[in-house]
């Protein structure tokens, strides 16, 4: 290898690096707060270069599904944008198509998100249709039944994937009887029980302005938006919600194996993470990057894929719900490698807990997490949905423009080592395994 050339590249690279990030945030984020006459508030990022806008609407504090009607929240959101007002499915879908509107709604465990992309020339009609969806969705029988069949098809396909089953098993066993452990999309039995009235009722109760957050990005001015906010959201009810969630106990450990006829074994592993409210949260986030979220640069990818060729991909995620925080990973590997992979994961976990990362790893992860942030904001749709995601967690504008970067920048190697010791607990790992042969590590 030509050392000279390598050095030149580094030099060049460092020079760019220093000029690099100083000018980014200001250009990438100019977030305004728009408040309508009736007090409905939204974040707005104006961009008039393309005659398009996107809107992301979130509703927080969604209650758990009733145990006998699992999948209700998801099912309800799958049907809500099918038909509304005086238009049945075909008429409504035709209208969306004619006006070039992309519209989708979904519910997670904690939040509902509705996302829209439309054309400036049909701006007012687009907001009218959104209003109809929010306050006058039809939930026609035919639409409910068709969607129900799509759920059945989804459940059948889920059973074809070892990775999906391993992941469902992990949630189910780790969260025990807590609602987070129940399948978000329900099961064939519970979906069969859900009625049209249930779906309507869910939408009516949960599309609640008190828990609503709105982000709009694109070709729209603050005054135009203010008028449209009233027109679109004014009819939604305002009610105090009661949270029905318990805080789960997260202490399941060990290994669970389920047989399946496949050539590979799927493995899901993890344990509790760190709460977003905890001052160590951001340190944990950076450590997760070093362990498994940083693509090729991460330790697990290096060890298990690059060095040993044991998988096509392995990754971890630092995952937060309102009432639980996880450090979760997954991969698939040839069945005969299962024990070896589990051992390698445990070893890496142990090493990270004992020694923490190196200064070089920490620096790399920090600059990556700072530098990659603006890439989330490259079109109106991704910008609206990324900003809504941050709002739903409770972050403010200052977090987006400055605070996030500062929180990452100030992490020291000592912080990282201290939190690594706290976070990476080899003996707390819980593994679920789905594949053709039972690994020896499963007793």
């Amino acid at each position: 290898m030509n050392k000279n050339k390598l050095y030149r590249c580094y030099q060049l690279f460092l020079a760019w690096f220093i000029v690099g990030f100083s000018c980014l945030p200001a250009r990438a984020f100019d977030i305004q707060t728009v408040i309508s006459k009736n007090g409905i508030e939204a974040w707005l990022v104006e961009d008039h270069q393309v005659p398009i806008f996107s809107m992301a609407i979130g509703f927080k504090n969604i209650s758990p599904d009733p145990a006998d009607k699992l999948g209700l929240k998801s099912f309800s959101m799958s049907v809500i944008a099918d038909a509304a007002g005086d238009k049945n499915y075909l008429a409504f879908q035709q209208k969306l198509e004619e006006l070039g509107i992309e519209l989708s709604a979904r519910s997670g465990h904690d939040n509902i998100t509705i996302s829209v992309r439309g054309l400036s020339k049909f701006r007012s009609q687009t907001f009218d249709l959104i209003r109809d969806v929010l306050v006058a969705a039809r939930f026609d029988d035919a639409d409910v039944e068709r969607t129900r069949e799509q759920y059945y098809s989804y459940f059948r396909r889920l059973q074809e994937s070892p990775a999906a089953i391993a992941s469902q098993n992990w949630d189910k066993m780790f969260f025990a009887n807590h609602p987070y452990g129940r399948p978000l999309y329900g099961t064939a039995e519970t979906i069969a029980r859900i009625t049209q009235a249930d779906l309507k009722d869910f939408a009516k109760k949960n599309l609640n302005r008190r828990h609503m957050l709105v982000v709009v990005v694109g070709d729209i001015t603050p005054s135009e938006l203010a008028d449209l906010l009233d027109k679109t959201f004014n009819q939604l009810p305002v009610a105090d919600g009661v949270s029905l969630w318990d805080t789960p106990v997260l202490n399941k450990t060990g290994l669970f194996y389920q047989p399946m006829r496949s050539s590979q074994t799927a493995i899901v592993f993890g344990h509790a993470g760190i709460s977003r409210k905890d001052p160590d949260y951001m340190v944990g986030y950076v450590l997760n990057e070093i362990m498994g979220a940083g693509g090729f640069s991460s330790r697990l990818m290096q060890k298990i894929r690059v060095e040993n060729g044991l998988t096509y991909g392995i990754s971890t995620t630092f995952y937060s719900l309102n009432y639980a925080h996880l450090l979760l990973g997954s991969l698939t590997t040839a069945a005969e490698n299962t024990d070896r992979v589990i051992e390698l994961i445990r070893t890496e976990w142990h090493k990270m807990g004992e020694e923490g990362p190196s200064q070089a790893e920490l620096d790399l992860a920090k600059t990556h997490l700072i530098g990659s942030f603006p890439l989330r904001f490259d079109n109106t749709r991704s910008t609206a949905s990324a900003l809504l995601g941050l709002r739903l967690i409770g972050y403010d504008k200052d977090y987006v423009t400055h605070q996030r970067q500062q929180l990452i920048e100030k992490i020291t190697l000592n912080d990282a080592k201290r939190v690594a010791k706290r976070l990476f607990q080899k003996e707390n790992l819980f593994f679920t395994i789905v594949g053709p042969t039972k690994p020896q590590s499963v007793k």
């Binding site: 992309r117 054309l119 069949e149 006829r261 690059v306 603006p374 890439l375």
Partner: protein, 455 residues
């Protein structure tokens, strides 16, 4: 369905581009109207074609480097080599050690990936625009300086074989897809999977990969696309600086791919798998267009038959007869030598296959016998017009579409006039296309069902 709209959108959106001519010296377009995109192209002296789509909406830039080589260019018996080589490009070069490339891009917050198809291989990175020079330098370096060595080669082979297991052996739908492609293309190399057959991948050597690299990776066999917050002059400067010195290869032989004989009979595969749970019915038609632009009426035909929830198939199978939970049809024009018109149906149950097939055949006969309505054409054209505007929100997708078009035989000005041509298409043309191309003797029909167990 969204996929189809998106595809249509991406294709027609080329209409908005302002094209300045495929000359060595590009001219900058002045005063683009709000609906226009700039696209500029020039060719380096070593034959590298450079295409630039500038936009300053976000301080981000994407580089895509496409080599005009894919799995259809592999020697028989060495399936999977093009894709395997793609993996190896993320290893060492003469100048930089293993891991250097990823680390540099990772450090600046960038994203990178690559993909291989039958006809081309694409490497791409997205970074803050300040780092354009870095990614151009790294990409140019691996155009000429790749090193393939142990133990990286053997480990990477295992990675590829895990990829085959994960995405092609275990999912039953992938198995059906591979088999249908193999039967649709009996002789042409499109009949073998891009990722390769596992037993052949297992035999590939470092020497195979190196020879393939040395033969095909050259500036005069590549297209460089830069999209985003850049100026064309800056790109020209950097392209010359980093790619300009790489010698052209004179031994790039014209690709001599086998072509299929006329098959003259419908084929079918019914696959009952114990790994499978759902009920799928699907059909692929192989289409050979005399010229690329002949595909335009067939795109509208796909839209009218199965492009959305108001399409003929969807109304019949999902809404009226309730035999299926979803159906879609689309035309894949991203191949160089053929196009594939495909129909995918998710049946509610196994017993519905016969009726589904009957209705699909009826609807296709109907469109052959009676011209589609003016309203249907109008609707398809409107949705395409809307998609044109929306495609401008995702410039990287648009750029990728132009790039793939150029690599599969489209001329830039044909892409540019796509939408004008699309608007002139009448019911008669669509009818003729249905008659000419949707013939059962050019098609393979497949079903995928759970294994029937005898208790």
């Amino acid at each position: 369905m969204t996929r189809i709209l998106l595809r249509l959108g991406r294709l027609v959106s080329i209409f908005c581009l302002v094209f300045t001519g495929q000359s060595v010296l590009a001219q900058t377009v002045s005063n683009p109207t709000p609906l226009d995109f700039q696209i500029e192209t020039f060719v380096l002296s070593n034959g590298l074609q450079v295409v630039v789509m500038p936009s300053n909406r976000a301080p981000i830039v994407t580089q895509m480097l496409l080599y005009r080589v894919g799995s259809a260019d592999e020697e028989s018996g060495k399936s999977g080599l093009a894709h395997f080589l793609e993996h190896l490009l993320f290893k060492a070069t003469k100048n930089y050690p293993v891991g250097f490339y990823d680390q540099q891009i990772h450090r600046v917050g960038g994203q990178m990936n690559a993909f291989t198809t039958q006809d081309y291989t694409v490497y791409h990175q997205t970074v803050a625009s300040n780092f354009l020079e870095l990614i151009m330098q790294l990409e140019a370096d691996r155009m000429e300086n790749l090193i393939i060595e142990e133990p990286g080669f053997s480990a990477e082979k295992q990675v590829v074989r895990e990829e085959i297991r994960q995405n092609h052996i275990d999912p039953p739908s992938s198995q059906l897809y591979s088999m249908m492609q193999a039967v649709l293309f009996l002789h042409h190399p499109y009949g073998r999977p891009v990722i390769g057959w596992d037993h052949e991948v297992n035999q590939l050597t470092a020497q195979d990969a190196l020879e393939f690299y040395q033969r095909w990776y050259a500036p005069n066999n590549a297209i460089l696309m830069i999209i985003g917050d850049v100026k064309t002059d800056q790109v020209r400067l950097l392209a010359n600086k980093y790619y300009g010195h790489i010698p052209a290869k004179s031994n790039l032989e014209p690709l001599n791919r086998l072509s299929d004989p006329p098959l003259n009979m419908p084929r079918r595969i019914d696959f009952n798998s114990d790994k499978n749970q759902d009920f799928r019915w699907q059909r692929f038609y192989k289409i050979e267009f005399a010229k690329k632009t002949d595909s335009i009426p067939a795109e509208l035909l796909a839209e009218i038959l199965g492009g959305n929830s108001n399409s003929r198939f969807y109304k019949r199978l999902v809404i009226e007869d309730k035999l299926a939970s979803s159906v879609s049809a689309y035309l894949d024009t991203s191949y160089r030598d053929y196009a594939v018109f495909s129909i995918y149906v998710t049946a509610l149950r196994r017993e519905n296959y016969d009726k589904i097939e009957q209705i699909i055949n009826q609807e296709i006969d109907a469109i052959k016998n009676t011209p589609v309505t003016q309203e249907e054409i109008q609707r398809a054209q409107t949705s395409v017009d809307n998609a044109i505007i929306k495609s401008r929100d995702d410039l990287t997708n648009l750029g990728e579409y132009v790039l793939i078009g150029l690599a599969t035989g489209w001329q830039l000005n044909d892409l540019q006039t796509w939408s004008t041509k699309m608007r002139m298409i009448d019911a008669k043309t669509i009818q003729l296309h249905a008659q000419q191309f949707l013939k059962l003797e050019n098609a393979v029909t497949g079903t995928l069902s759970p294994k029937l167990t005898v208790e």
